[in-house]
Symmetry: C2
Subunit: 290 residues, 2 copies
DNA sequence: AATGATATTGATTAATTTTAACGATTAATT
DNA sequence: AATTAATCGTTAAAATTAATCAATATCATT
């Protein structure tokens, strides 16, 4: 049994006239006739009574017609479903976001969701290792992260932007108007720093180690929003990449003296898998707001 | 899109291994690979991610899998439905019965319905012309009737039995023990006769006309059971074919002198249409009880 | 007999399947 | 770490199978 035959059958049942039905199917009457005969043979029952010049459905034909129509409806539905995915009228997008990135996704989320209301977005925050595992297991479509190049097997890295690592303080902070700060000066301040896993943290460790300074780390946390919220309301300072405070009007980023250090943001894809259109478009949206 | 491809796809989605899936479909792996590719092209989306040696469903693949399964379930259901018809586990049988025949169908109905509990039986009593019209319009499968040969266009007659036309009285009737009755004697009795359309009525008219006797017809009705019920409880007599009283223990049939006259019972089919198995088997059952 | 329908037939075309060669990836062995 | 062998999916070409067409046969109706 093939869908082609079901199509021919339904048309024939509708016209009750093989020649007409064949025309409607854009085949010759002979073709339709044979395919219906084949169908009848497979089913072991006649679907039409051929009475002289007329054809008419048998009991089996009537029963089968209902089923054939149902099948063809389902087929149409299946195509419809795929076509909705294709036109982004449906589907989902699962984005992994590392903590340091969290404030950057938010501004892209709303416009994207507005443009493609059919697409359900899942955002998962987590440490890079966990997210990467999920990406490989197809539980995520993409990861947005700061990352060092190269060390990834089976992952594809697409550079997004670079963001300079700076000191961040509240605008109400005495040092808020500073043009630049030295590492020595920084060593004298109370720090609230991102936890391990954040690459800006590695940078902080490095600059202090070089100068043999023991930084005054008061709090360490791996959730950027909470961290910035503390910075906003205290005189503590932190060190983060510049873009991380883009949604925070009450904060200001101040360059650190010495060699400029940048964090590079990437999108991670799984190598070899089909790149979802929705993911590509989300990235487009993300680039716009950055 | 063809059912073949859906089968391949579902198997592949289940195994997540083309070679195995191909084995399960009894085709080579290349065949399966190509057909799936073709399906993907028609849908305009990849259904599988091919990552090295592994394959895995894409979002579209997951969506489509649900639909494909539904379609294949429907297909199986449709075959099941036909196969039930074939095995007489389902279906219907529409029998037309002329009034004179009515008492003959009943004994066949119960055993048949017992044997084939899935078959729904419709019995329609009516005058021959109406029934024949319905037979031609496929509203009936067969007609059971007494009929003269030949006069039927497009109908096929299958002889069932012959039944002699006799006088019928109650066993309590004074004449119940009679071996034979003459037309003259019959003319002196109160008669309750089947109405026009009954061929035994034509016979009665004829024999009386030949002898120039005016019969004493007290009641005329075209429903045999009611008629016989009256005969059972009165001293009126009727003229019917012998088989018509087969279920009536309290009645007796007495031959009428002169040339024996038989009524011939037939099954009428529409010429050229597929003979339902159920109909054939019903007739078999009918022959048994006659 | 002529007509209007489906069925059948043989030739042609198209599609499916297979075979075989290939490339990429993984696992095993050296 | 490098080499080898094995596994898997893809591709291209050949072989097989199936669908289609055009012409004709057949059948019932007019």
């Amino acid at each position: 049994m093939e869908l082609r035959q079901l199509n021919y059958f339904v048309k024939a049942a509708e016209h009750l006239h093989f020649t007409e039905a064949a025309g409607a199917c854009f085949v010759t009457q002979s073709t339709l006739s044979q395919q219906i005969k084949q169908l009848e043979e497979e089913l072991g029952m006649l679907l039409f009574d051929r009475i002289g010049k007329h054809v008419r459905l048998t009991e089996a034909g009537n029963v089968f017609l209902k089923h054939a129509r149902q099948i063809l409806r389902d087929v149409a539905k299946s195509k419809e479903a795929i076509s909705e995915l294709n036109s982004l009228a449906a589907g989902d997008l699962k984005i992994g976001v590392t903590y340091a990135f969290s404030s950057m996704v938010l501004p892209a989320l709303t416009p994207f969701s507005f443009k493609y209301p059919g697409i359900k977005i899942y955002v998962e925050y987590g440490p890079p290792e966990v997210l990467e595992l999920k990406l490989k297991g197809a539980e995520l479509d993409i990861i947005l992260t700061f990352h060092e190049e190269s060390d990834n097997e089976g992952l594809e890295m697409q550079p997004l932007f670079s963001s300079r690592i700076m000191m961040v303080v509240s605008k109400k902070h005495p040092l808020a108007a500073l043009k630049k700060i030295t590492v020595n000066e920084l060593g004298a301040l109370d720090l609230i720093l991102p936890g391990k896993g954040f690459s800006s943290r590695d940078y902080v460790n490095e600059i202090f180690r070089k100068k043999n300074i023991l930084p005054r780390v008061r709090i360490e946390m791996n959730e950027v929003n909470s961290l910035l919220s503390l910075v906003e309301n205290t005189s503590w300072v932190t060190v983060l990449n510049e873009k991380a405070i883009m949604t925070w009007d009450s904060l200001v980023a101040i360059p650190i003296a010495g060699k400029e250090r940048y964090k590079r943001a990437f999108i991670l894809w799984q190598k070899g898998v089909y790149k979802k259109k929705a993911a590509t478009l989300f990235i487009e949206e993300l680039s716009k707001v950055l």
